[in-house]
């Protein structure tokens, strides 16, 4: 019996257990402190949906052996260009949303292919390189945002040229998914459209993993030598995984922004890869193995943790910014823990 229990614990993962325990403590704390739980859960659902696709973007690169895609800002920047174009063309609602996605996909696929080519050149240190490629691209686009020929007065600084730091989507495609088929139950608002979009992407990925190409990608990640001996072009599948991940980053930012109701330019995309990587690792993935369940579970646990911890910590310690600091400690701590596991495993 004891053995059974310990093996069940081992398969669930010690780290995940701590996270879940921590979350439960926070929820109890919230209840005790009189923070209403309904809005907290609504908030957690929205944040799960808006971050879910970023977390899903970690999956292809993990299964192909590249590891968590810390270069996610590449895809995000492409998606932002799509969003900006939708505003520039004065579109609203779903058409604007879909245009942003349609522009973002080919753009991110191209960038992703170049990124994949680069990652094939630096096998073994992908995580480090991808992080800095992401950072560099963000800086490059900082120049881009200034010199791109956008003219819509909604986006451009009132004086001079260049795009603003945050651009409101209120009149454009803010909350198009969140409000789609949304309903309220027991005081919890369920953002149906948003969750459906996330689950749709998960479903597509689920199908992909079970295709010939998906199997090949998994084999490349599991054992490069095995894949080579089975006649598989290893570099091709690694490149494909980078493309998929970057495309998901582009789609992800459009979905994220419609919930957030702002497009954030300049430094904002810089840090978006880290929480996504932390979330999939909390979900039980390692930097070598991951599945769809890890994505869904991970993003929900991670975002719930942040949503609940914020008001609780703010109530307990009356110092501004503590919640934000706690968030950073948690998300970076988890990445550190997961990376420490890798070196032990290999």
């Amino acid at each position: 019996m004891n053995k059974l229990l310990s093996s069940a614990l081992a398969s669930f993962g010690f780290a995940r257990l701590i996270i879940v325990a921590f979350l439960i403590v926070l929820v109890i704390g919230a209840a005790v402190l009189g923070i209403p739980l309904g809005p907290l859960l609504s908030n957690a659902l929205v944040r799960t949906g808006m971050n879910g696709i970023f977390v899903l973007a970690m999956l292809p690169t993990i299964i192909s052996g590249i590891g968590p895609n810390f270069g996610l800002p590449l895809g995000i920047l492409c998606g932002l260009v799509g969003g900006l174009l939708a505003i520039e063309l004065d579109m609203r609602g779903f058409p604007a949303f879909f245009l942003a996605v349609t522009v973002g996909i080919p753009l991110s696929a191209t960038v992703g292919a170049m990124y994949g080519w680069l990652l094939n050149k630096v096998k073994g240190s992908e995580m480090m390189v991808s992080t800095y490629v992401g950072f560099s691209f963000v800086s490059l686009m900082n120049i881009g945002w200034i010199i791109m020929p956008f003219a819509s007065p909604e986006m451009v600084w009132p004086i001079g040229r260049g795009l603003r730091v945050t651009i409101s989507l209120a009149d454009r495609f803010a909350s198009v998914l969140d409000k789609f088929w949304a309903f309220q139950i027991f005081g919890v608002v369920v953002p149906t459209g948003l969750l459906l979009a996330f689950l749709l992407m998960c479903g597509l990925m689920w199908l992909f993993v079970r295709s010939k190409a998906g199997m090949a990608m998994k084999a490349v990640g599991d054992s490069r030598q095995f894949a080579l001996a089975s006649g598989i072009n290893v570099d091709k599948y690694r490149l494909l995984s980078a493309v998929l991940s970057t495309v998901l980053g582009a789609v992800g930012i459009v979905v994220f922004s419609q919930s957030f109701t702002f497009l954030q330019l300049y430094e904002a995309p810089m840090g978006m890869g880290f929480p996504a990587a932390a979330a999939i690792l909390i979900g039980g993935a390692t930097v070598r193995r991951a599945n769809i369940l890890n994505v869904i579970l991970g993003v929900f646990l991670f975002q719930s943790l942040l949503v609940v911890s914020l008001p609780v910590i703010n109530k307990v310690i009356m110092v501004g910014g503590v919640a934000e600091i706690a968030r950073i400690i948690v998300s970076n701590g988890i990445i550190l823990y997961a990376l420490a596991q890798v070196s032990r495993g290999d």
């Binding site: 079970r210 010939k212 199997m215 090949a216 084999a219 599991d222 030598q225 095995f226 089975s230 006649g231």
Partner: protein, 533 residues
């Protein structure tokens, strides 16, 4: 008999590795100035014996050894390589243990530097003493002169021909004071013929100075040239210790190889030598440690051909080269059609399938299920086990399961079910999964490398019987590469022996032990002087 006649005496040495006996009751005696050859196939126990002599950690971590060791008549226990050095035992390694960026002198004197005190060393300790390069150079010069190497002692190792590196290693050993015994571990394996001759001469010089030499090798002609006494090991047991005068190369070859062959194939069937299934011309394969230099071989449709030979001679490289897993050059054609080399996909399309010698590294997806492992290559290369919708596809789990269940029954794969991870299977069952994966491709020609390495007797039998069955019932051409000569002789119709990256010759499984021994040692033509195919 007096002990003090011997500089080294290893008495009744035995060794078990986790219940597996690798050495049994081996006795070895060495006089000062004697050159004593230790002869045996791979896995005969030569390295284990030397590991014991050097007190390698691997021996003590696995429970020590049986028997006693005497040095100059004193019973000793050698607990570490450092102690063995103190007893005056030196080693010339097969892989060079030299630092490329250092000069010859620095390599010879490393950790035994001649030093002078200076101010810093007086204050901070002896680690900061100055090097006396002059004294060190002259010592190195002396050692180099002894073995006849005419090269400046301040030359860097990097970029030096391998032959010279070997000599530097030797110089390092003889420079050590009180050196009593030097072990040469296959020193001529990487040398050219003239370098090898020079080396043998140097060994003689060293022996004449009173140092005893243990010469580990499988080259019979070298043994006959310089050894005084010869110990032959086989399967961890001492076969014989002989003086050179009472033996010859044929006799040694027979002693090295000889063992009972249990035939699985009873009738020696005649292969109709009509159609050539696989023709290999001038094949070169760059596979580190198993380089193939020049292989010409025709393989007939419907035969089981064995490729044998000692480790490191290139037999493994042949199949790996044909499958495109290592860079290869030359002409290979399959049923008359030329095959693109260095292209694994083309090899599969031509009807080949491959069971790798590296089961866990290359042969299996250890974290995937048995059924996925079996189906994988066929799915990728032949689009089997898939539902296809235009450019999209989805795995046909039903077909995958059905095929896996059939193979599990056919090959008697012992598992909890088709979804068990292959990592959890025993070696024998893992091997059966590898074979099942190759068979899912419906190959015309099956290449199997080391199919029985590290698996238990029961699984061995099933694997070998499966190969025979495939050959008989489906007419599959099988190319089996193995270090186990007895197994090749039990199922193959012809056996090609590879030595030095070339096919030394092709023998019938019924050929004599002497012939096999000579061929594996690469001395067949030297002694027989004629071609027998």
């Amino acid at each position: 008999m007096k002990h003090d006649n011997y500089v080294l005496e290893m008495k009744n040495i035995g060794k078990l590795y986790s219940g597996n006996r690798v050495l049994k009751d081996v006795t070895l005696r060495l006089r000062p100035g004697e050159i004593h050859a230790v002869l045996g196939e791979n896995g005969a126990g030569k390295s284990t014996l030397m590991n014991i002599l050097f007190g390698m950690p691997v021996i003590h971590a696995t429970g020590g050894h049986e028997g006693e060791i005497f040095i100059d008549g004193q019973a000793v226990s050698i607990a570490s390589p450092f102690e063995s050095m103190k007893f005056g035992i030196g080693m010339v390694h097969q892989e060079f243990m030299l630092i490329p960026g250092f000069t010859i002198t620095e390599n010879i004197k490393i950790n035994r530097e001649i030093t002078r005190p200076n101010i810093a060393s007086r204050i901070f300790g002896p680690a900061l003493k100055s090097l006396d390069m002059e004294a060190m150079n002259s010592d190195a010069r002396k050692a180099l002169d002894t073995i006849g190497l005419n090269i400046e002692e301040w030359t860097k190792i990097a970029g030096m021909p391998v032959g010279y590196m070997q000599f530097v290693e030797i110089a390092r050993e003889i420079d050590k004071a009180d050196m009593k015994i030097i072990v040469f571990d296959e020193p001529t394996a990487v040398l050219t013929e003239s370098e090898a001759d020079a080396l043998l001469k140097a060994m003689k010089v060293i022996a004449d100075s009173g140092i005893a030499i243990l010469f580990i090798t499988h080259r019979l002609d070298e043994v006959m040239t310089i050894a005084d006494n010869i110990t032959v090991l086989r399967d961890g047991e001492l076969v014989r210790t002989l003086a050179k005068t009472e033996t010859n190369a044929f006799h040694l070859a027979e002693l090295m190889v000889g063992r009972k062959v249990e035939k699985i194939v009873q009738e020696s069937s005649n292969v109709a030598k009509s159609e050539i299934a696989l023709s290999i011309k001038g094949l070169k394969v760059h596979m580190p440690g198993e380089n193939v230099r020049q292989v010409d071989l025709d393989i007939f449709a419907g035969e089981i051909i064995g490729i044998g030979g000692l480790g490191g001679q290139g037999k493994i490289g042949i199949a790996n080269g044909i499958m495109g897993l290592y860079p290869a050059a030359g002409q290979v054609s399959i049923f008359g059609k030329p095959l693109a080399l260095s292209d694994t996909k083309a090899a599969y399309e031509a009807g080949l399938a491959f069971v790798s010698e590296d089961r866990r590294g290359v042969g299996l997806l250890l974290d995937s299920s048995i059924e996925i492992n079996i189906a994988f290559t066929a799915m990728q290369m032949r689009n089997s086990f898939l539902y296809r919708f235009g450019p999209f596809s989805h795995l046909a789990y039903g077909k995958i399961r059905k095929n896996a269940l059939k193979k599990i029954a056919d090959l008697d794969i012992r598992c909890t079910g088709p979804t068990q991870l292959t990592r959890r299977l025993s070696g024998g069952n893992q091997q059966k999964v590898c074979i099942a994966r190759a068979l899912a491709l419906d190959p015309r020609i099956l290449l199997v490398s080391e199919p029985t390495r590290g698996i238990d007797v029961g699984a061995k039998k099933i694997v070998l019987e499966t190969l025979v069955k495939l050959n008989r019932e489906l007419g599959m051409t099988i190319i089996m590469t193995s270090s186990e000569l007895a197994e090749l002789r039990s199922i193959c119709q012809r056996i090609a022996i590879v030595c030095g990256g070339r096919v030394e010759g092709i023998l019938s499984p019924d050929a004599s032990d002497v012939d096999f021994g000579l061929m594996m040692a690469g001395d067949y033509h030297k002694f027989r002087g004629k071609e027998v195919i």
